[in-house]
């Protein structure tokens, strides 16, 4: 049985872990799981996510509560607290081009040794990285990313853990589902097995470890 209680799911997240969190500017982010982490004070986290959203929404709330030691993200500009903590030396910030970030996560989940991307060649991003010349073009070797846990937000889940994401809330979620040792899901709704058409599944249940019903205001 993949279906779990909220408490059982939060129990899996420990201080010091590397945590992938789905979402793009808090859309597709498991807000209840983040509240659970804040309430338990789970700290010293390394967070891999698209960005640090806003001070009062999504991943930004973990930053504001000083639970995060390091972020691996493409952007921190929408959350002034991230910038302040970075300047104070409280928060380590690893900035990565968004397409490279998601592809590195995919490589981590796909058993690939890295990503060869033209993005960042000739910029600061290339510093210290291996460059491969292939058919006359330069590509950066970017390494795979994996996490201890992935925290995802789904719209519907069935009791086998099959997931559907809603509209633009899909974003990083299905990719992160492949790249963590444990995959924990906040679904708006949990339905019986068979209620989700196999042709509509975004994340097959074989990737999911635990799911809880968090409610929501979807269509």
């Amino acid at each position: 049985m993949k279906e779990s209680s909220f408490a059982e799911v939060v129990e899996q997240i420990e201080p010091g872990m590397t945590v992938m969190i789905g979402g793009f500017l808090a859309v597709g982010t498991p807000e209840k799981l983040i509240t659970g982490m804040i309430n338990k004070g789970i700290d010293n986290l390394t967070v891999i996510a698209n960005e640090t959203s806003y001070p009062d929404r999504g991943i930004g709330r973990l930053v504001v509560e000083k639970l995060v030691d390091k972020v691996i993200v493409s952007h921190i500009g929408t959350n002034p607290v991230s910038g302040k903590q970075m300047n104070n030396g409280e928060l380590e910030v690893d900035l990565i081009p968004q397409g490279t970030l998601v592809e590195r996560i995919r490589a981590g989940g796909a058993g690939l040794g890295g990503v060869l991307t033209p993005v960042g060649v000739g910029t600061k991003i290339a510093e210290g990285k291996e460059i491969l010349q292939i058919k006359g073009e330069d590509y950066l070797l970017e390494l795979p990313l994996r996490a201890d846990v992935a925290l995802l937000k789904a719209w519907k889940a069935d009791r086998k853990g099959n997931l559907i994401y809603r509209k633009a809330a899909r974003n990083f979620n299905p990719i992160m589902a492949t790249a963590a040792d444990k995959v924990l899901v906040e679904a708006e709704e949990i339905v019986e097995v068979g209620k989700i058409d196999p042709a509509r599944v975004h994340t097959p249940g074989v990737y999911v470890d635990m799911v809880f019903a968090g409610g929501g205001d979807g269509e």
Binding site: F24, V27, H75, P97, V102, E103, T123, A168, F172, G218
Partner: protein, 220 residues
């Protein structure tokens, strides 16, 4: 002189003229977002939103916002009929794989070699690049839509960028309130100028060497 609102309108309107029927286009935050208001009605443009869809539509009516439907700037938007959602990896296959015809971006600096710097001012302002570096490297055509100077006097269009680059030699066209500049193998060619500004004045406000071609046009 033109005020800030007028400047932004001039730029957005001129960039819109670069779009062709059938183009797949990504519009960045700020002036680029406003390009959408000037797209001719007789051409069909598909807008890409890097957070995961094509078919980006206008803002919803107040009260009709969908919590799961924003653009890459976080604003509530709509999706048009015939649009398609995708995950972030698929969104950047579209960008990096050359399937995006045009990307329009703002910038901190741009130079006559087509270099662009728009993701950080070391020690001062470090928002990060988001999807910009992928867009700059991946799009078939990179158009920079920006005010010509920083606060009336400090040049943005340089001989060589001094800030950390977002992309090297990737910019194709620069559109400002003063003119339209094309990055060529010979340098930066002023193809069109805004007759509200004297050519000498434009030259003064541009650090990069501007090439004035024989067929220099007035900007519409």
């Amino acid at each position: 002189m033109v005020n800030k609102t007028e400047k932004r309108e001039i730029i957005a309107r001129r960039v819109a003229q670069e779009l062709q029927d059938g183009d797949v286009v990504n519009l960045g935050i700020g002036i680029p977002t406003r390009v959408v208001d000037y797209i001719p009605e007789d051409i069909d443009i598909t807008l890409h939103s890097e957070n995961g869809f094509v078919g980006l539509g206008p803002a919803p009516e107040p009260g009709k916002e969908d919590k799961d439907l924003i653009n890459a700037g976080g604003e509530p938007v709509t999706i048009k009929k015939g649009g398609a959602f995708m995950n972030s990896a698929e969104s950047f296959i579209l960008v990096r794989g050359g399937h995006l015809d045009i990307t329009v971006l703002g910038t901190l600096q741009v130079d006559e070699k087509g270099n662009i710097a728009n993701w950080m001012i070391p020690g001062k302002f470090v928002p990060g690049m988001g999807g910009a570096m992928d867009l700059i490297t991946g799009a078939q055509r990179v158009i920079v839509a920006t005010e010509h100077t920083i606060k009336e006097d400090k040049p943005k269009i340089l001989k060589e960028c001094t800030l950390p680059l977002s992309g090297k030699g990737e910019v194709d066209l620069i559109v400002t309130e003063m003119g339209v500049m094309e990055v060529t193998g010979k340098g930066l060619v002023l193809k069109e100028y805004n007759p509200k500004f004297k050519l000498e004045y434009i030259k003064k406000k541009t650090e990069a060497e501007l090439i004035f071609p024989a067929d220099l046009q007035e900007m519409n």
